[in-house]
Amino acid sequence: MSIAAKANALWEYANPRKFLATSERVMPFFWVTSITCIVVGLVWGFFFTPDDFRQGSTVKIIYLHVPAALMAINCWLMMLATSLVWLVRRHHVSALAARAAAPVGVVMTLIALITGAIWGQPMWGTWWEWDPRLTSFLILFLFYLGYIALWEAIEDSDTAADLTSVLCLVGSVFALLSRYAVNFWNQGLHQGASVMRAAAVTGADTEEKVSNVYFFPLLVCIIGFVFLFIALVLYRTGTEIRARRIKALLARERVSG
């Protein structure tokens, strides 16, 4: 299949009926994969990896912290993409998917913040530090809250979809800007990106990245979280579509009856 044909095939899912049918077919697979991966990753990580020689057993919170943080950011990126699709091509499923993803994203952000605080307490001796990474996550959390609040506040669903999409676009620019502003404002305690290093691709175990012992269970956990996120968003989007249908049916009933 050529790329153009593939792209066309993607747009077929803009049809809610097709979207629902397909998502229902693939969702069990996603649920099973995600739960298996998370259980395997967590059990492997918690019970079958050695304690870190400096951090002791507290290092094991990495299996929740890193995947949640990763999904928190990727969820915003997904919302950005679906908002753009809505603004350009006006597919309702796209706007509803953005709406469905936001609460998932805010929970992921919260998990990352809370596990980070629990991890930071024994390691840095403080629950909270105005470190750039921590601060930008807090700002991301505020952006999520504003986005969700705007969805909730507007009654007309098309207007709400339009306004939140524009907010998502503008917010993304400002969130990125805040990330760099915060970097400038305070140098941090948090270690740099250490999961996805060049060595991670080649499999070599180097100083600059997370040790392979921790890396493989972590990878399993990340895969689990990715599938969990996809399954949750598909599920919630389906709910949104059905809620929209019920509303339309009720409105039709009121008019005819």
Binding site: L150, T159, V166, V170, G171, L177, S178, Y180, A181
Partner: protein, 218 residues
């Protein structure tokens, strides 16, 4: 354009449009700070630039919900939207009027409030410069927020929730300029960043505000 600007200015000055309210709020916040943190002048002079920036930002935020809401209520916003003037120009003029009636007075008042907080002498110049550069960005970003929430019944709190995260970069660089200026460090980098943010928001954000306003007026 000029007629619209003059109209907005007149409304703000005459109709109790909150011209003095923002200033009074700024004054009260500044007066309350020593009550809450204690009157030691050394402490006050360290936190003065940040407090003044935060006070100006909150005063600016407070006046935002009147920016478009009054015109929305009496229907003049619909007239403006159907006027031959592009909506982008309308929101820019609105933001300019907001800056002239809220931002500029705050900038002028800030040095006097700086005296109250024992701001170090070299800080005065940088405080005024940073506020002068930063407040236009606050007005333009605020106009975007006001355009987003214009049709809502209880838009005020939501407006703050939407606008405050957008203010973060402006606040960081602006307060950094004032803080560095007060302690005699070099201010060029944050000053340039602040100027960049202001220039970019003034140039680009009116398009987003106008788009949002069109959606709301549909």
């Amino acid at each position: 354009m000029i007629a619209l600007l003059l109209r907005d200015l007149k409304l703000a000055l005459r109709a109790g449009g909150g011209f003095g309210l923002g200033l009074a709020f700024f004054l009260i916040v500044t007066v309350l700070v020593p009550f809450s943190v204690g009157p030691q002048s050394s402490l006050l002079s360290t936190i003065a630039p940040g407090v003044l920036w935060l006070g100006a930002l909150l005063a600016c935020l407070l006046s935002l919900d009147r920016l478009l809401a009054l015109d929305w209520e009496d229907g003049s916003l619909d007239l403006l939207a159907t006027a031959p003037l592009p909506l982008e120009t309308v929101v820019t003029v609105k933001a300019l009027a907001h800056w002239l009636t809220t931002g500029l007075p705050l900038v002028l008042a800030a040095p006097f409030l700086g005296v109250l907080l024992n701001l170090p002498v070299p800080g005065f110049l940088w405080l005024v410069v940073s506020l002068l550069l930063g407040t236009p960005a606050m007005s333009v970003i605020g106009t975007f927020g006001a355009a987003l929430t214009v049709g809502l019944k209880r838009g005020g709190l939501l407006l703050s929730l939407l606008v405050l995260p957008l203010y973060v970069p402006t606040l960081i660089f602006g307060a950094e300029v004032a803080r560095r200026g007060a302690t005699g460090m070099e201010t060029q980098t944050p000053l340039l960043m602040l100027a960049g943010i202001t220039a970019a928001t003034v140039a680009l954000l009116p398009f987003a505000s106008a788009a949002v306003l069109r959606i709301n007026l549909r």
